[in-house]
Symmetry: C2
Subunit: 480 residues, 2 copies
């Protein structure tokens, strides 16, 4: 490697030294996103956006399989609407942005940019819904939302982010509850199988639940540094919003009844999760299923006769089956290119030089293990498939192992503090159910309850905080 190559890697902060700075370095240098002149709002660059498009493709297809239809509702919500549901406005009012003047005139009523769309969508549902025959509405929208965070971080806490928000109404409580959990399962499946990140599924404690919901369910993920990231949530509203917004229908008995409602969302935070769950000191590490470039072909000794044409041929051959890039830049060394594409997280690199061509072979280098595999050119197309699958699985397994290593049990608050300081991660404890204990734990440890996992274990019979009888297991963690 030349001098240039070393400098290049040095530009990224060491992951163990300063994870937060490492994260920002990756976002900027891998050209996923950038800061803009609109403070706290980011630009998502093509390489970052293509990850989002790939996530969308999987998610939207899954949604449609389970009857979801896409829609689009207004970006602006009149103040009186936002204020209709008491808990909802309390939760969102502090972080909304207000439009007060438009078309050269001050507005009679100010309007906020949607922080989420329950209110405006509920008024439409109330207008449209007549009979049980119209139900269910299983609608979703892919859109931007704004939440005026004080401290922002690209993808994780950006004032504007992209997401999907599903909003459904149903004839019965049971159907709505099933929908809530069905959508949670879809998030879990995609995050595990596509993003290669294991999830913890459960219900949020009342304190952590969505403003206005009866129950919030979550898929939680754990990052490289042991902090948790809520990767998707699904809410059951019961008739709470439908009573406030008058969403009613004539039921099968000819009586008026309020609809049962859900909402569920996942956002570009998922890109942050991918970065922080998989990345390493070399940079980004992308799961093959969502990597914008799955394979990069880097010719070696490009000036030698026949190298570029052969690399080109290989590129075209592979392009039929994979997302491939050919790097024939003539102003940087191969060593620079290796580092560059590793930093960009491309799962597979193929090196091909004069000697490889002589032997009708190429060298495959795995991003996840750095393993080098010499492959005959006749077999390379099927071999790549195999390797991409192995990488996808291996990345999941590495994450799972990390999570196991960073999951500990605490029986009392001293153990809790010790565990989270020595091995930041998930802390499993029993909990008495009181918000007081939840608050105290947050104060002493900085950890929030992640969820009450669906898979409960009996650790003890006492609350980790107050020592009173407890039958519920909660998982805690510091969070993004």
């Amino acid at each position: 490697m030349g001098k240039e190559d070393n400098n290049f890697v040095k530009e990224i902060t060491n992951i163990e030294e300063d994870f937060a700075k490492w994260y920002t370095d990756i976002v900027i240098k891998a050209e996923l996103a950038d800061y803009t002149d609109a403070k706290g709002l980011i630009a998502i660059r093509p390489y970052g956006y293509e990850i989002w498009e790939n996530i969308q493709k999987y998610m939207d297809a899954k949604f449609k399989e389970v009857g979801v239809k896409n829609t689009y509702f207004p970006v602006l919500i009149p103040e009186t609407l936002l204020q209709k549901e008491k808990d909802h406005i309390e939760g969102f009012a502090p972080e909304v942005a207000w439009v007060t003047n438009a078309g050269g005139e001050d507005l009679e009523e100010k309007m906020c940019i949607r922080p989420t769309s329950e209110t405006i969508i509920s008024t439409c549902y109330a207008k449209w819904l007549k009979s049980w025959r119209d139900l269910p509405y299983v609608y979703n929208q892919w859109c931007n939302v704004l939440r005026w965070e004080k401290e922002t971080r690209p993808f994780l806490r950006s004032r504007e982010f992209l997401w999907q928000e599903g909003h459904t109404i149903h004839e019965t409580e049971q159907e709505a509850q099933e929908r809530t959990l069905k959508m949670l399962d879809i998030y879990a499946e995609i995050i595990e199988n596509v993003l290669a990140i294991p999830v913890l599924k459960g219900r949020k404690t009342p304190k952590e639940q969505f403003a206005g919901a009866e129950a919030t369910y979550t898929v939680e993920t754990l990052m490289h540094d042991g902090r948790a990231l809520q990767a998707g949530t699904s809410h059951y509203f019961g008739q709470n919003f439908s009573k406030t917004f008058n969403i009613k229908f004539q039921n099968r008995n000819g009586q008026e009844e309020y609809a049962y409602q859900t909402s569920w969302g996942a956002s570009t935070r998922l890109i942050g999760a991918i970065i922080m769950a998989h990345g390493d000191d070399r940079g980004l590490k992308l799961p093959p299923k969502i990597a914008p470039i799955q394979v990069v072909v880097v010719p070696v000794a490009m000036h030698k006769d026949g190298v570029i044409p052969k690399a080109q041929e290989l590129y075209e051959n592979l392009s039929k089956n994979y997302r491939v890039e050919l790097d024939i830049r003539d102003n940087v060394t191969p060593g620079y290119k290796f580092n560059y594409w590793e930093m960009k997280g491309v799962p597979v690199r193929i090196e091909i030089g004069p000697r490889d061509i002589e032997n009708n072979q190429a060298v495959i280098v795995r991003r996840d293990t750095a393993e080098k595999i010499v492959v005959n050119l006749e077999e390379i197309n099927t071999k790549i498939q195999e390797i991409l699958e192995q990488i996808q699985t291996n990345m999941y397994n590495i994450c799972l192992k990390t999570r196991q290593e960073k999951t500990t049990i605490a029986n009392n608050i001293d153990e809790f503090v010790k565990n989270i300081n020595e091995n930041q991660g998930y802390i499993k404890t029993m909990w008495c159910g009181s918000e007081e204990c939840e608050n105290k734990i947050k104060e002493l440890t900085g950890a929030h309850s992640r969820c009450i996992p669906f898979e409960q274990e009996k650790i003890s019979d006492k609350c980790v905080c107050c020592g009173k009888p407890a039958t519920t297991m909660v998982v805690w963690g510091r969070q993004y």
Copy 2:
């Protein structure tokens, strides 16, 4: 037909009596969109949104074929940025919406919701661009924009609309100009081949050009009532914005140079165009390529043994190849269903009853011609393909014929006035090139210049308005 059926059709205003009201009726009754509590902003309902998704699918695929990469830039633009380019701010300032308060505090600098994104994107490009090696940037975003129109109409002039806006920068003037026209060609191709609406391609007169552009190119379409609708535009900026926003690069000679820029956009207005170009007294008429439902199966005499199972079988068989709906509602008559699906613009209806089943056949009814075709069930799958293609072509041809009938030539202003009042549509004339004549024509006829068509004809050698020598042919029309 029962009483119910007649009432149903009466709900739609006669298309020749009041085209504007007919339009709104269709939008609401076909459940394409609806008004909301956010005045002037609409909700796009699933049936309308799916048309948009289908347009997006075609357009995005075409874009990617020609190297376009998707991105996402902030929805908010700081005031100072919007004001940087003089013409641009003059064009857009009157219709922007301002955020003045966010996160509980008044903003130091107010920000507008993007009416278009040249300014914010240009600042990012200026930051990112270093060398000719980085060029071109051929980026696009699918997003919402806001323009505070005084009078709004769903899809046509909604304060918020969805669109794509492409923004490119290039090393040379020639490359940028080629890109401008290449994107215009893609719009033309999709509007003609997918939306089945013929387009008129040309350059806008300086008066009608985009605020800040050196040249604006357009694809113009003509509606059923003879009014024109601008369906997509592509702008060449030269170095105008790049000088204002300092987008420069080191060129191949090692010198600093300003980049050459383009932008191009098409929006949910296209849904309005589809409605108004194709619709008739029975309602919406959707081109098969973008129809959310291409085929509806309506069983007749549903209560008879075996009818529903056979209809179900047919539905499942066809669903492998087409977007199909099966209508087995038991609370409305078949006649109601026929009207209903015609109103919704479904290209093909299949009726199947006991006698059809006996004869192993079904009846296909075309939405465009009302023609009934008896088809053997063994052949129906291939027959549908044929018919959908015929409908797509026929719908285009009908539009083309309408356009021919509504295109007239005017040699002087009296002819112009007479033509547009007697046969509202495109008026072809010679034009001297002065804005004065353009303004006078608008005043006298209500028509704007649509464009200077690429395909010029020599009608005469005198300007239609002032009679002075003229070598340019312009097409005029009243507009949406």
